[in-house]
């Protein structure tokens, strides 16, 4: 099974919970965004608790949790936005 590396980003409150803003994560090519989140949530229960208010993006577009991730993709986990 081919393994690929995705760039994973956390912002705002999530960045503080996870303790990193950027990480490189190895995953099976085509795995869902959901699986990446589960990996970090397992290490950080507080992140898991925020699951329902987190939105994901892939390559700068909002993306559903089922979206497959491929080599070189940039996946970000975004808390509710509060700009303006």
């Amino acid at each position: 099974m081919p393994v690929t590396t995705a760039k994973v980003l956390f912002f705002g409150r999530l960045k503080e919970l996870v303790g990193v803003s950027e990480d490189a994560y190895e995953l099976r090519d085509g795995a869902a965004i959901e699986q990446i989140f589960a990996h970090y949530a397992a290490r950080c229960p507080q992140l898991a608790a925020f699951r329902s208010s987190v939105v994901a993006s892939r390559n700068h577009e909002f993306a559903s949790w089922e979206t497959p991730v491929h080599s070189g993709d940039e996946v970000a986990f975004l808390p509710p936005v509060s700009g303006g």
């Binding site: 700068h60 509710p80 303006g84």
Partner: protein
């Protein structure tokens, strides 16, 4: 004109410097315009009854810029407007400073008002920027808004 032509004169920016309103108002002013409506979002000294000391804004910068550009493109599709300028400041902001400035020009005032209002409402829901509020007794991330689900956003591409 194509959509690209309509928005090609727009100005969409993130900045860490003080926002000068006149610069953005001037940018959207052309001889064909009879109306400019501007929105200036600024740092209030209070939030939910607590005294605010200052704010910090952070953004997912490339995505925030793309989402802001999408807003400017959509404005041209939805409203009879001429030019758009949108800028959001990042980093530490003091009370009274401008965090976001939007200016829209049009031949007539109704679309200028409607487009400017739609732009700030949409920015606050869809642009990945976050505000941390610093109070005398600590700091909190502002309660934010959930972006629309991916399927609902017209610009989201299929994941294939």
């Amino acid at each position: 004109m194509s959509e690209a032509d309509n928005s090609s004169n727009d100005r969409v920016e993130l900045t860490r410097s003080r926002i000068v309103a006149e610069s953005y108002i001037s940018h959207v002013r052309t001889p064909a315009d009879g109306a400019i409506v501007a929105f200036d979002g600024c740092v209030r000294n209070h939030s939910h009854g607590r005294r605010t000391l200052y704010l910090e804004y952070e953004a997912y910068e490339p995505m925030a810029l793309e989402k802001m550009r999408e807003i400017s493109v959509q404005l041209h599709e939805k409203f009879a407007i001429d030019r758009v300028a949108v800028v959001h400041r990042l980093g530490r902001l003091e009370i009274g400073e401008t965090s976001v400035f939007i200016a829209v020009s049009a031949a007539h005032r109704a679309p200028a008002f409607e487009a400017c209002r739609w732009a700030i409402d949409t920015l606050k829901r869809t642009v990945p920027i976050w505000k941390k509020e610093f109070f005398e007794d600590g700091a909190v991330w502002a309660e934010g808004e959930l972006p629309p689900p991916p399927g609902a956003a017209p610009s989201v591409k299929s994941a294939s």
